[in-house]
Symmetry: D2
Amino acid sequence: MDFAPSPRAAELTALVKDFIETEIEPVEAAYHHEIKRRRDAGQGEQWQELPVMADLRAKARERGLWNLFLPAGHEGPYAEKYGTLGGAGLSNVEYAPIAELTGRSFVAPYVLNCNAPDTGNMEVLLKYGSQAQKDQWLDPLLDGRIRSAFLMTEPGVASSDATNMELSAIVDGDEIVLNGRKWFSTGVGHPDCEIFIVMGLTDPEADRHHRHSMVLVPRDTPGVKVERMLTTMGYFDEPHGHGEVSLTDVRVPIQNFVSGPGEAFAIAQGRLGPGRVHHCMRLIGLAEKALELACQRGTDRVAFGKPLVNLGGNRERIAQARIAIESTRLLVLNAAWKLDVGGPMNAISEVSQIKVAAPAMALDVIDFAMQIHGGGGLTDDFPLAAAWTTARSLRYADGPDEVHLGLIARLELMKYGVSR
Amino acid sequence: MDFAPSPRAAELTALVKDFIETEIEPVEAAYHHEIKRRRDAGQGEQWQELPVMADLRAKARERGLWNLFLPAGHEGPYAEKYGTLGGAGLSNVEYAPIAELTGRSFVAPYVLNCNAPDTGNMEVLLKYGSQAQKDQWLDPLLDGRIRSAFLMTEPGVASSDATNMELSAIVDGDEIVLNGRKWFSTGVGHPDCEIFIVMGLTDPEADRHHRHSMVLVPRDTPGVKVERMLTTMGYFDEPHGHGEVSLTDVRVPIQNFVSGPGEAFAIAQGRLGPGRVHHCMRLIGLAEKALELACQRGTDRVAFGKPLVNLGGNRERIAQARIAIESTRLLVLNAAWKLDVGGPMNAISEVSQIKVAAPAMALDVIDFAMQIHGGGGLTDDFPLAAAWTTARSLRYADGPDEVHLGLIARLELMKYGVSR
Amino acid sequence: MDFAPSPRAAELTALVKDFIETEIEPVEAAYHHEIKRRRDAGQGEQWQELPVMADLRAKARERGLWNLFLPAGHEGPYAEKYGTLGGAGLSNVEYAPIAELTGRSFVAPYVLNCNAPDTGNMEVLLKYGSQAQKDQWLDPLLDGRIRSAFLMTEPGVASSDATNMELSAIVDGDEIVLNGRKWFSTGVGHPDCEIFIVMGLTDPEADRHHRHSMVLVPRDTPGVKVERMLTTMGYFDEPHGHGEVSLTDVRVPIQNFVSGPGEAFAIAQGRLGPGRVHHCMRLIGLAEKALELACQRGTDRVAFGKPLVNLGGNRERIAQARIAIESTRLLVLNAAWKLDVGGPMNAISEVSQIKVAAPAMALDVIDFAMQIHGGGGLTDDFPLAAAWTTARSLRYADGPDEVHLGLIARLELMKYGVSR
Amino acid sequence: MDFAPSPRAAELTALVKDFIETEIEPVEAAYHHEIKRRRDAGQGEQWQELPVMADLRAKARERGLWNLFLPAGHEGPYAEKYGTLGGAGLSNVEYAPIAELTGRSFVAPYVLNCNAPDTGNMEVLLKYGSQAQKDQWLDPLLDGRIRSAFLMTEPGVASSDATNMELSAIVDGDEIVLNGRKWFSTGVGHPDCEIFIVMGLTDPEADRHHRHSMVLVPRDTPGVKVERMLTTMGYFDEPHGHGEVSLTDVRVPIQNFVSGPGEAFAIAQGRLGPGRVHHCMRLIGLAEKALELACQRGTDRVAFGKPLVNLGGNRERIAQARIAIESTRLLVLNAAWKLDVGGPMNAISEVSQIKVAAPAMALDVIDFAMQIHGGGGLTDDFPLAAAWTTARSLRYADGPDEVHLGLIARLELMKYGVSR
C-alpha cells in the first residue's frame, strides 16, 4: 500500500494547482454568472460554450495539462501520435490528487479534458474500440474537438438494475436498428457533442449478462432526438447538461457495435471502475472546498458577540468534517491503488465502498457549509448549492448506493460461504 | 393535552381535503409546467400570476376555505365585516390538520390565502397595527387583493442574531428614513405584493432588544428597489419568489411604525410563534406526500426481480419514516396546544423544538423518496426536489436550527440555576 | 386524541411521585450498594430479597399505589375481592405518567407491583386464564405473595421469529409433557418466583400460528431446572435476574394450557401490546432521569474554565435530548390512547413504532449522560451504565427492532395494495 | 504515504497471526469462563493470574513475539541487553497490523507484553527516565516480571482538562510528598503491578502547563491504598482491572520525578501519541472480529424462512461496517505513518482524528453484531458485550472525544488565522 506519487506526478499536481489558482479561479465566478444570465434570458444561449472556455482549454493543453486521466500504458501510442495529448501515463494513485484539485471547480475537469462522461467514453474506445472506431471518434475526443455522451439510464424502468434496459438495438442485415428512450444522458446539451455510446437490448434470449450491446450512434443520425434537458435540483448544468433522448428507427452500420453484440456488461464493468474512482476523487476536492468556505465564513461572521465557529457545536462539525474528508480520501486512494496493482476485478468491493462513502461524506460537509452560510448558502452567490446537487446526483450516477452496498455485502458474505 | 379537533374543525378539514383533491391536484402539474415553461422562455412572465390561480382562489373563498389560519378570537369583528373572509375562529390545534393538508401542495396555502409571509404579516397587523394600518393594509390582505413581504434578513450580517440588523430606520421629523439592504424577502416577486414590513435599526443606543423597529413601507415608495430575485437550490419559487431589496433614502410617515419605535423584537416574538407552527404543520404534510410517492414508486418499479420496496433496507426506511412523521406531528400538535392554552410565552421551547425537528424529519423522508425515484427524483418530473428545497430553507427561515437549539438548552438549563 | 389524565389519575400520579421521592429515592443507592456487595461476596445472597423491599412494598400497598397497571375494566371484580389490590381502573393514557415516574428508578416498578414480566403475566391470566388458574396464580400475584416468569426465547433458534420455538409441549393423555430449553427468562432468580408461563410447540402440523401453546408450569415441577443466571453487559439484575432454564420431561395437568392448545400466538399478541407500552413509558422516565443527571453534572463540573455544558456541542446535545424525549413521550401516549380506544388490533403499528423509537431515544440520551460524566459514567457510582443496559435490552425484548420495523412497513405498504 | 510493511514486519505479523490462532484462541473461552467463575465465587481469586497466562507468555517470548510495540530506534540497546526482549525495531506502520491482530483477543496484548498501560509506561521510561529509573523499573517491565499503572484521572474534577488535577506532589527536602485520590488506574488489580506513574500538582504558581509532575511511586509505599476496583458496564476486567487509589502522605525520593518537576505535560504528550495509536489499531481488530461474528451468526441462524443476513437492512449494515472498518484502518495507518516520519508533533491532528473515529466505528460495528446475536449478544456467551465496553471506555480514555474534536478544529482553524 503505497499512496505516494512519483516525482513526475507530484510535479504535474503542482502545475495543475497553479493553473487552477491562476487561470481558472479568477474567471470562474464571472463565467457562472454569465451562464446564469443567459439561462435567465431564455434564448437558449446558455447551451453555447463561452469563449473563455476555449481560451482556458488551449492554455491547459499548451502546458501539457491535458488528458491526464488517460491511464498508464496507453500514453505510449497516443504520445507518439499526439504528443502531450496522450496523457502523462499516470497511475490511478498518481492521478488522484490531480482529480481532487479539479473537483474544487465546476469547470476545471472540462478545461483539462478530464470530464465525465468523455473520460469514460475515451477509455471504452481505448480498451474495446476497433481501430476504425478509434480513428473516427477517439482521436477527436483526445484532441478536444468533439464531445460525447453515454446513453444508459432509461426513464421507464428501474435502471439501477442494468438488465432492465429496454431500448432495442436489433441487428437487421448489416445495420443496427435502435428504438427507445434514454435520460440522464450527460453532455448532450453541448454543441460539440457528436457521438453517443448507447446501451441497447440486442438479444432478449441470451443469458442475463449478454443481452445488451454498446452501440456508437452519431448524434446527427436520423431518428435521434434530444427531447428535453433535465434539471437536477433546479440546475441544468449548462452547457453540458443532462438530456432525455429518443431514438426512433435509428440505423447505424453493424460495425458500430463496440467490441461486439452482447458485450455491454463486460464493457460497462471496465468503464465504470476508473470512472467511479474519478468521481470520488473529485468529491474529495469538492468537500475540501466546502470546508474552506465554511471555515472562512465561520470566522468572518459574528453573531451573539462571537465568530460563528465559536458558537454551539460548530467546531465539532469542523472537526468531524476534517475526519470524514481524511478517511474518505484514504479510502479513495486505496481503491485507486487496488485498481493500479490488480485491475478492476481486484477492486470491486473497494470501488463500491468509495462510491457509497464519498458522496455521503461530501453531502454532510457541504450541508454544514451551507448551514453556516445562512440563507446565502442556498443561493448561487456561493458554489454550495450546486456542489450539493453534484454530490447528491452521485448517489445515483453509476449505480445507486443501495446497489453498491449490496455488492459489498455479497463479497463480504462470500467469505462465509454465502453464494449470493 | 387534548389534540382532538372540534366538529366544526373536522368538517373544515374534510372540506379542505376534498377541495385539494378535486380542485387543486388535478391542475397542479400543468400549473408548474407552465411556470417552468415561462421561466425557461426568459421573458419574465413567470412572475405573472396564472389565471388558474385566480379561479382557484375564488372557489376557495366561495366555499369558506379562506383565511382559516386566522386565530380564534379575531374572527368576530372580521366575520362581521367580511363574512367568510374572517376565518373560522380555529385554534392552532384545530388549524393543524388543515395546514398539514395544504403542505402537500406547493400552491394550496396561497389558494386558501394561508401562505407565508402573508399570514404572519396579517397577524402582526391584527395584534399590533393601528386602526388606520388595519384599514389600509389588513383589509385588502384578508380580502386577497394584495400581497405583502417581510424584510428582515440582511446579506451583510449574520442575521441569525437579529440584533445584528443594520438597515437604518431613523426618525426625521414626522418621517421615518430607511437605508439599507435586505434579502430573502419572500413574496416580493409577486405583482400584487404592495406592502413590506421592514425591520430597521432606529436607536443604536437603546438596550439590545429595543433598538429595532418594524416599519410599513409601501412597495412603490421612492427608493425601494428589488435588486434581484434569488434562487434556492436553483429554484425561484415563482411567482412569489425571494428577493434582494435595497432601500435608499426611503421616507414614510412616522405613523408607519408598527406598535412604535423600538418594538421590533416584541413584535417578532409574537409574529414568529404561530408562523413557525404553521411552517411545521405544512412540513408534516409535505413529508406524508413524499412518503406516499416513495411507497408508490417502490411498489411500481421492479429491479433484480423484486419491487424496490422489497430490496435492501427500503422497508426499514419506510418504517422509520412512518415513526418520524408520527412523532413529529404529535410534537407539532403539542406546540400548537401549548400556544392555544397559554400563548407564545407558554410555548417558547415547544416552538423551537418543532422548528428543529420538523425540517430535519421532512428532509430525511424526502431524501429517501428522492433516492427510491432514482435519477428522476432530482428532476421536476416529481415534486421532490422542490420539496427538499422547501424543507432545507426552513432550517434557516425564522431562525436557524442552531439558534433554536441554543434556546431550548437555555430553557432546560434554567431548571438547574444556569441563568444564560 | 386526548392525552389528558382524569383528576383521579392526576392525583395518583402525584402520590406516586411523592412516594418515589420520599420513600424510594432516599434508600435506593444503599439498596443497590448492598446488592452489589452481596454479589461481590459470591455467596449467592444477592438473590435474596432485602428487607427494605418488603417494607417499601407494604407501604406502597397501604397507600393504594399497587397494581396500578391493571387495566380499566378489570378493577371491578378485583376491587371487590381485594380492595385496593384491584388497581385503580386506569386507562393506558392515565397509567402512562405513573409508569414514566417508576421508570426513573430500578426498583419502583417492583415496589408498586407493576414490574415486568409479572404485569404481562397477570394480564394473560386475567384475559385468558380459567377461573381455577386465576384462583391459584393470579390472586397471589395481585397480592404480591409470589412472582412469575415468562419463558419464550430459546438459545438454539432465532427467537425473533416466534414460530421457530422448539421446546415441545405435547399432550400425553391428561398431561402436557414439556422438553426443551429457554433463556432470558426474566425473574427466575427471585426466590418468590413460583409460576412460569411457558411457550411450547404442541402441534407441528398445524398452521404456522396455531402450533404453539402457553402452559402454566410451577417452578417446583420435577424436570424444571434453572441452569444459570445470565448477565447483560455484565449485570445480573438481581434479585430478579434473567435465567436459562431447562425443562426435561416436565409433566403438568392438561388443564395448565392457558386458553387451550395452539393458542400461544393469540395470547402473545394480547400480552405484548400493553407490556410494550409499559416498557416504553418507563424508558421515557429513564431518559428524563439521565438528562437530569447530565445537566447537573454538566453545570457542576468545570473544564477549560467553563462548566461542561458550555463546552463544544453539549448544549445542542441537551436540546436534542429534550426534543427526542418530548416527541417520544407523545408517541407513547398516542399508542396508549389507540389501545384505550380500540384495543390491541387498533394499535399494532403504533405499538411497534414506540417499541423501536423509545429504546433508541433512551440510548442516545443515556449515552450522552454517560459521556458528560466522564469515566464515572461507566461505573456503578451512577445509574447510567445500568440504565443503558436496560434500554439496550429493550431493543431485543418483546421483539427486536427489525421485526417491529418490518411490521410497521408491512402495514404501511398495505395501503398500496402490497399484501405482505 | 507508504503503508506497506517491510518483509520482516510481514513475517512477524504472520507469526503473531499463527500464534493467536493456534495458541491463544483455543484456550481463551475457557480462560474467561474460569475468571468469571472465580468472580462469581466472590473469594477475590479472579485477581490472581491463571497459570495458562504464564505458559502463553513464555511461549510468546520464546518465539520472539514480545515487546513488539517497542519503537524503532530503541531496540538496539535493549536487543543487546535482552535479546528478543528488545522488540523488533518496528515502525508504527509496521506494528499496526500486529496490534490489530492482538485487538481481536482480550488477552493477546498481555500475552505479547504489549498491553496498555505498560506499553505507554515503558515508553515514558525509555524516553524520559533516568538510567537508575530504567534499571529499576524498565528492565523488569520489558522482562515481564512486573506490571505498572498510570495514575492520572481523578474522581473529584473534570479530568478531561488535565490542568484540573489536584493530587499534590510537593517537594519536601529530598522527598516528594503525595496526597490525593486517583481513579481509573488501569492495572492496579494485578498482583504483579509494582510501580505507579502518578501525575501530581507540584507548583500551582507555575504556568498552566508546568504545574504538574510525573512521579514514580512503588505500589508498596506507605500511604498508597487501592480503595476499590471499579466496574465499567458491570465488568471488572480482571485480573488487571481499574482501581480507585488514595495516596496519603506518600513519600518517595526526589529522584522519582520523571524528567523533572513540572514536566508532566511534556511527558503526557509524548506518552499518549503512540499509546492512542495502539488503542486504535486494536479497535480495528476488535471491529473485524465483531463483523466476523455477525456474518457467521447471520448466516447460521434462520428466521421467517431466511438466514438473518437476508432480512431487512442487514446486508446494508454489513456493507457499511466493511466501509467503516476499511476507512478507519487507513486513517490509523496514516496517523502511524505521520508519527513515523515526523514524530508526535507531526501527527497531533491525525492522532486526535483516529482517537475520535476508531471507537465510534467500533461501537457501531459491535452494536450491530450484538443485535444480530439477539439477546445472546448481551451475555458473556459471546465477546461482544465486553468488546462494546472496551470501545466505549475508549471514548474517554486518553482524552474524551470532545477534547480531541476541539483540538482538531483548533488546528483546522489556525489555517484561517484563528489563534485558539
